[in-house]
Amino acid sequence: MNELSASSRITYRAVMVRPGLARRIRGLSDRMLAWLFITPTIVLLLAINIFPLLWTIYLSFTNYRANRANVPTIWLGADWYQSILTDPDIWAAMQVTAHFVIWTVVIETVLGFGLAYLIDKKFRGHGMWTTIILLPMMLSPAVVGNFWTFLYQPQIGLFNYVVAFFTGRAASSFQMLGDVTLSPWAIVIVDAWMWTPYVMLICLAGLRSIPDYIYEAAEVDRASKWRQFWSITLPMALPFIMLAVLFRGIENFKMFDMVNLLTGGGPGSTTEVASITLKRAAFESWRTGYSSAFAIILFVTVFGLANIYVKALNKVKSR
């Protein structure tokens, strides 16, 4: 053994070690192996999801300010919650959010279902049209926000010229993003343009899941197309429509990026949705404790809606 060269000794040691390690791993139960594989994921989840959530809950009860980290924090109890839930400005932001959520969901559902109904008819070139319709959904919200800002320009924007062509009004006579009446609708239009294809996809899945024999039986019973739509198509696609409504509702309740790029919450606070108010409180006023409490209120709302969403999803799955 002593006459072995250095490299041979290393190889020899490696050969000696490897079977031991392998035997030890081979000796682990399936349960232990499963834990071994999922432990890094659980640690990562705890570090980047659960810990910040618990920390935010703690901060929401204190006067902590991120720009004055050295100042001692004072426990305030539920003061911030009370302050937020009695503040007319926050209530107004919630109403702006409600306007945005309700109108986008209604428009996207009606248009999405209509498009899905048309695409489901499998006319000539329907594959190409499906791809074209899906294009806006594939774009980044940052890109969409930027190019719709150009489209809404009163002087050079295409949108104003299209409206001028159909209504006869001068193209530069109105500003979609600068007008207090029009700006809430401007963000609704952009969101509907971007996310209607998504609702269409979900509705299309619902329509394609309806078996043909039900329509054949209805044909035998001489049911009109109108009757078939109301008695077969709509009830059977309804769980999928509900799913789309819930998903878009939750997403739009949290909407930040697109609105921030398009209007930044303005003019005034007419498009200041809840997320924009939260961002202003957290990173402009640096009221970290206050904004943490606001974030927890929004989180509980979204979590509650997500529970309903999961329930609807299970209903769809069980079909």
Partner: protein
């Protein structure tokens, strides 16, 4: 000696009928939906003030009742 041949039907009490997952989940879902509506309605500041408590109660209730037997 007479033998009772009628099949014995297990009588389910009111608690058994109510304490099942489906109706309890439906109640929790309704409370959550009511909380969300209260949060975003434009009519009453008092309703808005109670919205968070309502949503939180509904969410906690949903989490608990989803563990109840079918």
């Amino acid at each position: 000696m007479s033998v009772d041949l009628t099949p014995s039907i297990a009588r389910r009490g009111l608690a058994d009928r109510i304490l099942r997952r489906a109706p309890l989940e439906a109640i929790a879902t309704t409370i959550i939906a009511a909380g969300v509506v209260m949060l975003m309605q434009p009519l009453s500041l008092t309703l808005y003030s109670w919205s968070f408590a309502t949503t939180l109660f509904g969410t906690v209730m949903f989490t608990i009742v989803s563990k109840v037997r079918e």
